[in-house]
Each structure stands twice: as structure tokens, then as C-alpha cells.
């Protein structure tokens, strides 16, 4: 992987990797926090209440942004596998634009 072409495709590839790693790490964190349910309903609800603050909600919105980007970019990669003639750049811009749109629409759901 030497002599990389630092074009948009490269940065999308890099972003897909980074968001993927973050999501894998979050998956474990998510399971660990949910495991409060193993200690009973009250312990679980207490954990939920502890997470009910603006800082965690901002974190969750960021998480949604990462999920949506990774999801759309993954679909873009599959589309490029199936239809190699499609424009990589247009699809990349579409991914970024739709991600941004979803994040903006999501704000009222979290705050």
C-alpha cells in the first residue's frame, strides 16, 4: 500500500476504516453498559438515567453521524463493485451530503 494516490477515494477509504474501528469499539462498550440489565431492572434504569444528560446525547448524535456515514459509504463501495462505471466522486459527495442531512434532521431527536 505504498505510493498512495491521495485523492477523494483515499480519504473515503481512510474514513471508512476509522469509523469502522470506532464502531467496533463502541459495540463492546454498548454491550458492557447494557450488561447492567444482568443486575436487574432498577440497576438498568439507573444506568439509563445516568446517561440522560447533554454530554452523552451529543456523543450519541456523533455516533449516529458515524453510523450513517459508514452505512452509506459501505453501500457506495458495494455499488462500485457491482457497477464499476458509476462515478466514484459523485457517489462520495452524495454520501457526505446525505450523512450531513441525516445528522441535521436528527438533532431535535437528541436535544
Amino acid at each position: 500500500m505504498t505510493n498512495r494516490n491521495r485523492n477523494l477515494g483515499y480519504y473515503m477509504w481512510l474514513a471508512h476504516r476509522i469509523t469502522g474501528i470506532l464502531l467496533a469499539v463502541y459495540l463492546f462498550a454498548h454491550i458492557l453498559t447494557l450488561s447492567a440489565a444482568l443486575r436487574g431492572a432498577e440497576a438498568f434504569n439507573q444506568t439509563l438515567r445516568a446517561f440522560d444528560n447533554p454530554v452523552v446525547r451529543a456523543f450519541e448524535l456523533g455516533l449516529v453521524a458515524i453510523v450513517v456515514f459508514h452505512m452509506l459509504n459501505g453501500l457506495r463501495l458495494i455499488a462500485l463493485d457491482l457497477f464499476p462505471s458509476w462515478s466514484q466522486e459523485y457517489l462520495a459527495f452524495a454520501v457526505l451530503l446525505i450523512s450531513l442531512g441525516v445528522i441535521v434532521i436528527s438533532v431535535p431527536f437528541f436535544f
Binding site: 498512495r4 459495540l27 450488561s35 453510523v67
Partner: protein, 137 residues
Amino acid sequence: MPAGQDIGFREQYLRSLKTRSVGRWEWIALRLTGVFLVVFVLAHLWFLHYAKANHLSFQDISARLQGRRFQMLDLGLLVLAFAHGLAGVRRVILDFGVLSLGAEKALRWVLFVIGGVGVFLGYRIFEAFLGAWGRAG
């Protein structure tokens, strides 16, 4: 390839995969689980974080999980997310350099065990929500 020809990053990456040990089945599995995850994750986010924005409780989740469809949604999500996530982590690790065949096999087993622990813990949590309903009702 003639020297200096710009084949583009994506093409270059795809070619590099052919010289390494990323198998065909792995390539397809990562994509298949990804496509299913799009549906599962969207449903998960919608039902848990958008439709009932921030009004969740143990009792809510427990009641919802009595439905067969929600059980399948959660269990499917659990298995798919760990499979896709760890397959992706493996790919990133392999991209850093070619491991020896032994190291690669060891990596596969380590990730398999980690995934197994994750799915097991997730299933225990799933059971906790189901069981609580049985005792309460």
C-alpha cells in the same frame, strides 16, 4: 502498469488485495453482513432512539422484546454486528502488512473467541429482558 500511470486509489487497493490473503468468501461475507446490517441498524436506531426518543426503560424494552419480530431483530443484530465488526477489524489488521500464515490463523481464532464472548454476553442480556417479563407477568 506503465510507470507513472494514475490508476486511482481504489483500483490500486483492489489490486493489492489479490496479492494478499483476503479470501473471496471473506470479501463477500463482509459485504453481505453489511447489507443486512443497514436494515437491522436502521430499525434498531428507529425503534429505540427515534420513535421513543429518550423515553426508554427496562420495562419498555422488556415488553417490546416479547414480540417475535423484535426478538429476531435484536438477535440478528447481535450476531451480524459482531461478525461484521470483527471481520472488518481483521481486514484492517491484515492491511498493515502481510502476517505469517500462523499469525493469521491465530488472529482469526482470537477474533472468533472475542466475538463469541460478545455474542454470549449479548444473549445473556437479551435473556435478562425476556426473563424479567416472565417473572413480572
